[in-house]
């Protein structure tokens, strides 16, 4: 599966994408029909205006002038003149009204479609498994649901529909011009390919230039964002100048890309204007001959002039439209690429049963993140209901990986994990997750209030449960110190809490729903040991009769577990109760001995 990066080259026209987009447009066909009606009406009025000019100039005006020249009465012509003016005013009023709709209606149509698309896309990305997320910068995914989707709006407002109408306009106007005066029409017809040529030649260069600018900007912002997130590290290592220089380097490639677009546009607009002027000059030349020979009236010349202006503007904008379309197609492609990425970790819609006893078994589970190097091999064990299983082992031995599998963030490469004998893959994901309360090694607080972060939108968490959970996790002490208590604001990623405080809040969050299974991955690694011991006791009481999977480096936190699994390089090497493992004198005993011998940081003197 490939997901295009920001550099993707969009096609100018992509039938498949258009067909898919029209699928999203169909529910809003009424809006589209209305937009079409507006554009059609506007076009008709655009054609009508110049036609009226000709009839007024050649009709009442010319006749009145002639009548006056002949010394006759021009009153009747004047009356006719005013009637025409009245009609023209009505035309203008209608035109202005439609101009309003032209913008607002098209915009509304586009927005309706992209809102649907945006929400579907967001939902889809969220449903995609963790390995999808890990491999992509968050910023790129955010871009999909924000600017890429917004970009599609352009496709609707100034892309497809307008392009369709523009082509229609060009054809109709060319016909009208031919009907008006074929000699003049030949001049225009000779000039039109030149215009189209310039427009199309231009977009070739502009496409690459635009793409480069967008890609550079994305890279620039990505870098800025990352530096800001790691600002503390940048400052403490005194790397302000270096990151600034790196930023400057990116700025200069960004500038080069920009200068290229400026050059192209600076060339394009004057070139088009020049070509138009030649057409106009030619029109004057040929038209002038016709006028001089009496084959053409002033009114006709004026009408013709208007029509040429009408004809030129869509062609002039062709290059721009082409770019918009292209960039919209590129966005659409990136969006559909994500939408086409099928979620690999999915569950059925219906649960195979309602009540579970909660026996979890790992049966010969192996797993590797890249599919080849195995991080976990042949794991076989059981978490019996109501029992606590602990996982210990060296750093990088695969403990968190095992937790990831239990939570179905990933699926095993081999073997299976079952709940009451049912493969996890046959259980709806939300039914599975509703049974668990978890504290992850890298937990995450959302910006909002403390309460939001603890309740997390779960229906079963009332105030009493919350208080109890907070007491057990000692998060109440943290909250008590906040101005505003539970309603105190939480900054991005909980930046204003200490690491330990964040962990206490995460524990409270996990306990609040009293889940049948708690998963604690290094949940108290940054909590002082006094508090840790108290939390352990309180948690045990609160969770009496529930199962737990506990990962810890500090062996003191796992010694009361019903079973301890010792993981080494992805394999379970020992298992048993604390005393048994100590008595066996293996890995665990060695770890234990080390932990309680001397362990302090002190350089040699």
């Amino acid at each position: 599966m490939s997901v295009h990066d920001e550099n993707v080259v969009g096609k100018a026209w992509d039938g498949v994408v258009v067909r898919r987009l029209s699928g999203w447009a169909r529910p809003h066909w009424r809006l589209f029909a209305a937009s079409f009606a507006v554009l059609l009406g506007l076009f008709a009025l655009d054609l009508l205006g110049p036609w009226m000019w000709r009839h007024i100039l050649d009709g009442p005006v010319a006749e009145a002038v002639a009548a006056r020249g002949a010394g006759g009465d021009s009153t009747i012509h004047m009356r006719e003149f005013w009637w025409w003016i009245g009609g023209y005013c009505l035309l203008v009023v209608a035109q202005v009204a439609l101009r309003h709709l032209e913008v607002s209606q098209l915009n509304r149509t586009g927005q309706a479609v992209i809102a649907d698309l945006r929400e579907a896309l967001y939902g889809h990305i969220q449903a995609l498994e963790l390995s999808f997320h890990v491999r992509r910068p968050t910023g790129a995914l955010v871009t999909r649901v924000t600017s890429d989707v917004e970009n599609l709006n352009e496709m609707f407002t100034s892309g497809i529909i307008t392009l369709l109408f523009d082509s229609l306009k060009v054809v109709v106007l060319l016909v009208a011009i031919f009907l008006l005066d074929w000699r003049l029409a030949l001049v225009v017809a000779a000039g039109t390919p030149v215009l189209v040529g310039i427009s199309i030649g231009f977009r070739g260069g502009a496409r690459n230039a635009h793409r480069a600018v967008r890609a550079e900007l994305a890279r620039l912002n990505g870098y800025l964002q990352e530096v800001l997130q790691g600002i503390r590290v940048v400052q403490v290592f005194r790397r302000e100048r270096q990151v600034g220089e790196r930023f400057a380097g990116r700025l200069s490639t960004y500038l080069a890309a920009n200068l290229r677009t400026i050059f192209l546009f600076a060339l394009f607009f004057p070139a088009i204007d020049f070509a138009v002027s030649i057409i106009q000059g030619g029109t004057l030349w040929v038209g002038g001959l016709s006028i001089a020979e009496g084959r053409m009236s002033t009114g006709e010349f004026v009408q013709f002039w208007f029509y040429v202006a009408l004809l030129v503007s869509p062609i002039r904008e062709l290059g721009e439209r082409y770019n918009i379309l292209q960039s919209a197609f590129a966005s659409a492609e990136r969006i559909f690429d994500v939408l086409d990425t099928r979620a690999k970790v999915v569950g059925p819609a219906k649960s195979p049963r309602d009540a579970w006893t909660g026996r979890i078994r790992f049966e010969g589970v192996s797993f590797g993140y890249d599919g080849s190097t195995m991080v976990l091999e042949d794991a076989d064990f059981e978490i019996a209901p109501g029992r606590t299983t602990a996982l210990v082992g060296a750093t990088g031995s695969g403990k968190t990986t095992l937790v990831n599998l239990l939570l179905r963030f990933y699926d095993p490469s081999a073997g299976r994990i079952t709940l009451d004998g049912v493969d996890l893959r046959d259980i709806p994901l939300d039914a599975l997750h509703a049974r668990m309360g978890l504290v992850l090694q890298e937990d995450f607080l959302f910006s909002g209030t403390v309460r939001d972060n603890l309740v997390m939108g779960r229906a079963g968490v009332d105030d009493a449960a919350l208080r109890e959970a907070m007491r057990a996790s000692h998060a109440d002490e943290v909250v008590a110190r906040l101005p505003g208590g539970l309603d105190a604001p939480v900054a991005e990623r909980g930046a204003t809490f200490s690491t330990g405080e964040r962990q206490l809040l995460a524990i409270a969050r996990a306990l609040a729903a009293r889940p049948p299974l708690v998963v604690l991955d290094e949940a108290t690694a940054s909590v002082d040991s006094g508090t840790e011991a108290k939390i352990e006791d309180a948690t045990r009481k609160l969770l009496a009769g529930r199962s737990a999977l506990v990962v810890a480096h500090r062996l003191s936190t796992v010694r009361r577990a019903d079973e301890i699994l010792v993981l080494h390089k992805g394999r379970i090497r020992e298992r048993g109760r604390h005393e048994e493992l100590l008595a066996r004198g293996g890995l665990y005993a060695r770890l234990h001995a080390l932990q309680f011998s001397e362990a302090e940081v002190e350089p040699e003197h």
Partner: protein, 582 residues
């Protein structure tokens, strides 16, 4: 407006290009008018019955005019717009440098996404207004009066009447501007919020999934998305109105030409060629006028963007080199804290107060205390990431505020508690700590000291393994050890470890400590830890209370000899140890 002019100063640094560019504008516009005038005149000559032979020469002249106009337009755009891009880059660099220099306290309170958008859209708003915006305005300010001047000569009543729609349109635009501004701000804000929502739920995806929050997150996103749609539709409506307004002015100008021109033709024999000039110049005046409307609409946004940029650039970091800062000839690493206190900006209570402790060069200082007692805060004070609000911190007898930041921070090797890494290779992350390029050999040595050598070998790419955003593809302990290698890479006089081994298993921890002991000979070590055994041999230990005050300072033996948090915790830890052996 004054603010925007101040920003214009940055443009004036490119005075030559700017002047040349602006000089091209009147030339191009006047040629454009001349083009129309010549055609109108030709129509009259034809009507007067002149022989059509002159048309050929006229055609050549028109082509020449058009070519010259094209050249001017090219340079006008090239010079002015390019300058606006130079300024954009300049401004972005200034903002970047400013953001990077602002203290951690500033960043803790702000969303990084918001700052990024400031550097992007605010700069773009200012650039658009002062660059292309002024260029188009200048075009309009030449085109409109010059055209009216020409037309005034032909039929002054009509020329005068033409001003009316223009003025009305200007007034109408002005009336719309506040609403336009309000709604486009609302659109921007709702989009920013949408993007923030997406950003947060994607970076917290583990928690979202683990708690089956997809549904409620999607509902929140949907609500925000509908909010965006509502504002966008509203904006479309107002844009439609301004669009209609400009067209109304345009079209009613044609009505005027038709009425007054037609009338004049009948009444006074106004030549048709003159009517043509009115028509064609109306076309030419129209676009600059639309651009003016567009620029007027941009003005409020540009103004508030400029204000925000100025505000940011004017934010001073109070953590800078003092004027009388003097570098030490050599840093040895003795630390002394006297009456140190700290309060977070806007907080109601001190996070830290009354810390008095000293440590000789090469000694070990332990910092312990319950969760949230201010250990990390204290360590941040050492490198002046936060500035102590009270008391003083001395390095080798000199107040750290009197030392150049460069020297102070070069002397420190800091391992943060959160283990932040950049999404780059392992090698680049470690190199980040060192001033000089590290040889492969040195990198391998650092990996060995940090006990990462075996694991690195297991990665197919070795030291060039790319670690994801914030290091997501490493295990917690691997992240911490990479941070440790990064800190050691600078060969610091003072090593600052903030709970740096919490995610490392005991065996590795023991090896690490042994390695550190050997590699760290002569280094001062400041270590915050939860396990008291890690600070047991320290030369001094600061025990903090939950409220950030100091409970005791002393050596391990002295601390366990008196009642208090340290002794209780120590005993509890001992007891558990004994229990375990049973």
């Amino acid at each position: 407006m004054k603010i925007l002019w101040r920003h214009f100063d940055r443009f004036l640094r490119h005075r030559r290009d700017l002047l040349l560019g602006f000089a091209c504008i009147p030339a191009a516009q006047l040629l454009d008018i001349y083009f129309t005038v010549r055609i109108g005149d030709a129509l009259d000559r034809l009507r007067a019955g002149e022989d059509a032979g002159f048309l050929r020469n006229l055609f050549v002249l028109l082509v020449g005019i058009a070519a010259l106009r094209g050249v001017f337009r090219y340079f006008q755009r090239w010079w002015i717009v390019a300058v606006s891009r130079y300024v954009e880059n300049q401004l972005k660099q200034e903002i970047f440098d400013k953001l990077v220099s602002l203290p951690f306290a500033f960043h803790a309170k702000r969303k990084s996404g918001e700052l990024v958008s400031r550097a992007t859209s605010d700069v773009e708003n200012v650039r658009m207004f002062l660059g292309p915006g002024l260029m188009y305005s200048a075009g309009a300010f030449v085109m409109v009066p010059a055209s009216l001047w020409v037309l005034f000569d032909l039929e002054w009543r009509l020329a005068l009447a033409m001003v009316v729609p223009l003025v009305l349109m200007g007034l109408g635009m002005k009336a719309f501007t506040p609403r336009l501004h309000k709604i486009s701000t609302a659109v921007q804000e709702s989009l920013a919020e949408l993007s923030h929502r997406a950003q947060e739920s994607f970076s917290g995806v583990r928690v979202v999934k683990g708690y089956a929050l997809e549904g409620s997150m999607a509902a929140r996103f949907r609500a925000q998305s509908r909010e965006v749609e509502r504002h966008q539709v509203e904006l479309g409506r107002v844009r439609g109105a301004t669009h209609a307004l400009t067209h109304a002015a345009f079209d009613s100008t044609f009505v005027l030409i038709l009425v007054l021109g037609g009338w004049a033709m009948i009444d006074r024999d106004l030549p048709a060629g003159d009517v043509f000039k009115f028509i064609d110049l109306t076309f030419k005046v129209f676009w600059p006028i639309i651009a003016l409307g567009w620029i007027a609409g941009m003005y409020p946004r540009a103004l508030s963007s400029a204000e925000r940029i100025d505000e940011l650039l004017a934010t001073r970091s109070d953590i800078v080199d003092a004027p009388d800062a003097r570098a030490l000839p050599q840093v040895r690493g003795a630390l002394r804290l006297a009456g140190v206190g700290f309060r977070h900006e806007g907080a109601e209570r001190d996070a830290l107060s009354g810390v008095d402790v000293a440590i000789h060069a090469g000694g070990v200082l332990g910092v312990v205390g319950p969760t949230g007692s201010g250990k990390s805060t204290l360590l941040l004070l050492l490198g002046r990431l936060h500035e102590a609000t009270r008391g003083s911190i001395e390095l080798d007898g000199t107040d750290v505020r009197r030392l150049p930041l460069e020297q102070l921070r070069t002397a420190l090797g800091y391992v943060p508690q959160d283990g932040f890494l950049f999404s780059d290779t392992w090698r680049a992350n470690v190199q980040f700590g060192a001033d000089e390029p590290l040889s492969d050999e040195r990198l391998r040595e650092l990996a060995r000291i940090a006990c990462m050598d075996e694991e690195l070998e297991r990665f197919p790419a070795g030291m060039d393994v790319v670690i994801g955003e914030r290091g997501v593809t490493l295990s917690g302990g691997q992240r911490q050890r990479t941070c440790l290698a990064r800190a050691l890479a600078r060969d610091p006089r003072v090593l600052v470890l903030d709970d740096a081994l919490s995610a490392v298993d005991t065996e590795t921890e023991a090896r690490l400590i042994e390695n550190l002991r050997r590699a760290g000979a002569g280094r001062t070590v400041v270590v915050a830890a939860h396990r008291l055994s890690s600070v047991r041999r320290a030369d001094a230990i600061v025990v903090l209370r939950r409220d950030g005050t100091v409970e005791a300072v002393g050596k391990h033996d002295a601390l366990i000899a008196r009642a208090g948090w340290y002794r209780d915790t120590w005993r509890a830890q001992q007891m558990r140890e004994e229990l375990e052996v049973l």
